[in-house]
Symmetry: C2
Subunit: 383 residues, 2 copies
């Protein structure tokens, strides 16, 4: 299979690229390195520095003998993405190439507008480029479980059958996203569904939960092949933040009441899911939505797990509730369906004591690199 | 009341501005004149030339003694709209300022991307500007019934209560729009709902049907105060096209089977509805959605009405079915609720034989101005 990875420099893009390359697929990665610029704008860095993508592609070749085709450019430039599709002719396009941070999108008018324009225009350009050059390719788009918000009914996988006043229809699941970033993903999903409907595009929208972990078989091959671990208030996720706070002996900061519940998954399962989607493509004209996570946890659940992991390492950690910088429900019903990827063959790696201990141990090994100034949230949803 | 009309040069913006001005409200109009540029790009014109907005504002002052405050600029330039809100301090903001044509948005990648960026960024800038300078103002945003598409269940007004697996929630009505333009309005609605939720913005989203007619009490005061009548394939609507085709003795062109059913309303009712929304504002934090139309017709219904009107004027007209340039259902269930504006006091002007005869008569009076080259559709949704 010929697989194009958009956002190949990223936390998930790079391990995904190595995975497909390792199993013998022809892999091309695209990146604009905008993510590294957003980090500079906000003054945040991953725990361990990430070598340039060019360097990692060279090391990958040296270690495995396999080529990854690297194209540097921005999909918001339509000429660039048209050219990539024309010349690489992918069978599957895995699209991670978006601004991925809710707090970044809430920083200012500029970042809100930028996030929506960047994500929506990039995806529109990709759809038009597919129509022109690879109309039979399969688009695998990374969405987010955050598109759904926290409704008081079960979250279905993208579509829901509604009975209303004696009639019935299957419609797109109603969304209620929680940031301008999450809204950009909702806009993308709506645009992609339309392209499937009118042009016969085959698309899978992977509404992904919060990913944790940095180890995959390929990242473990050599330190230079590592992927990024973000614990900061812009690009970091809650579990990473808790692990770092426990490692430096500071209280775990829970935003608000901590009843916020979300879907989570191990990075290895992200790669499994993306691979399953590529290997079992949507049909022409189908807008397939898969909810991509393996377990649900509340923020308080995660705090409890990290406190327990720290205790197993003989470290006493406390929990502190901060005023919530976000506007969101802090105690709510949450039941999200996620059977379709299991039906395709997903074998989940769950968040066991062993896996959390391994993550904690790896953070502790680099504890001297932690920047304490980038952990506390400074961006507020309303003020 | 201080009323800001964004898109004050447009088909609906100008009559709305005169209406509020006439009843004694303080009115400011904003326009970028982009719409006139889009007409030039596509080589289309309204049936009768429309004087400059500056000229109309002067004539309005001369005829009524009333001032309309005109600000020329683009709301995609945030400095412009921030300044307008800061200095004019509106109580109500009527936002018509968007690219309004589905065919224009489907012309090319460029126009699709342009339409979404123009509409989404303009509205985001407006929301941020409101938050900064007039957080208590009421946003009255023109949406479209086309955001809903044609579901197989009744269309509610913006929100729907769903029972699902024994639980219940009231959620945003699921949308399935039919063009990149309609999608831009869906994106806007989602962004506005979020602004209401997190910032307490008061907003009314008027999901409007297809508007017909060009006469309001104020446009009738003098020819110079007229508003535009578009019958072309880009900015024209189906009823206008049929009236023009009947007047020039050509067959009425029905796209596909003609069972496409939509909501319609008289321009006087648009102005009534917008006024009712302004006079009965949404509450802080409320995202209120009103379906703004008075009657449902299929394309075949309208063709029949125009054939009958022509016959009353002793003109024989035939109907011709063209291959549908759009991708849409041509025969479908359609039942859209529209009681909330009636509850607020709307007194509909229905599409009677008399009203259609009057429109037909006014088109016939200017039949020599018809450009036959701009009627047939050239933009296809899929090809």
């Amino acid at each position: 299979m010929r697989v194009l990875i958009i956002g190949g420099d990223g936390y998930l893009g790079w391990p995904t690229a190595m995975h497909f390359s390792n199993r013998g697929d022809a892999v091309c990665v695209v990146d604009s390195f905008d993510k590294r610029r957003w980090e500079l704008e906000e003054g945040v860095e991953p725990l361990l520095a990430i070598p340039t993508l060019q360097n990692r592609v060279r090391e990958w070749k040296r270690l495995t003998g396999r080529d990854i085709d690297l194209r540097v450019g921005d999909i918001c430039n339509q000429r660039f993405i048209y050219k990539v599709l024309e010349t690489f002719q992918p069978d599957a396009i895995v699209h991670y190439g978006e601004q991925p941070s809710a707090p970044y999108s809430m920083h200012s008018r500029e970042t809100a507008v930028y996030t929506q324009v960047n994500n929506v225009v990039g995806t529109l350009n990709l759809l038009f480029a597919m129509r022109r050059h690879v109309p039979k390719a399969h688009l695998v788009k990374l969405g987010t479980m955050g598109e759904y918000g926290t409704p008081n009914i079960a979250i279905e996988e993208g579509w829901i059958t509604i009975e209303h006043e004696g009639r019935k229809d299957t419609v797109l699941y109603p969304k209620k996203p929680g940031s301008f970033y999450h809204l950009s993903k909702v806009h993308d999903s709506a645009n992609i569904e339309f392209a499937c409907r009118i042009w016969g595009v085959a698309a899978t929208d992977l509404n992904q939960g919060v990913v944790y972990g940095i180890r995959t078989p390929e990242t473990e091959m050599a330190p230079v092949l590592r992927t990024s671990f973000h614990y900061d208030h812009i690009f970091g996720t809650v579990l990473n933040r808790f692990l770092v706070q426990a490692a430096i002996g500071e209280p775990l900061t829970v935003y608000g009441k901590g009843g916020q519940t979300r879907g989570f998954l191990d990075i290895r399962d992200t790669i499994q899911c993306v691979t399953l989607a590529c290997d079992n493509p949507a049909k022409s004209g189908e807008f397939r939505v898969l909810n991509q996570f393996t377990e649900q946890f509340s923020v308080n659940d995660l705090a409890g797990k990290v406190v327990a992991a720290a205790r197993r390492a003989s470290i006493d950690v406390t929990v502190r509730n901060l005023p919530n910088p976000r506007v969101e429900l802090e105690s709510h019903f949450y039941e999200a369906k996620h059977s379709k990827l299991l039906d395709l063959g997903l074998k989940p790696h769950l968040l066991t004591d062993e896996s959390i201990d391994a993550m904690f141990e790896s953070v502790r090994r680099h504890v001297e690199k932690v920047d304490r100034q980038i952990i506390q949230p400074t961006i507020k949803w309303a003020q």
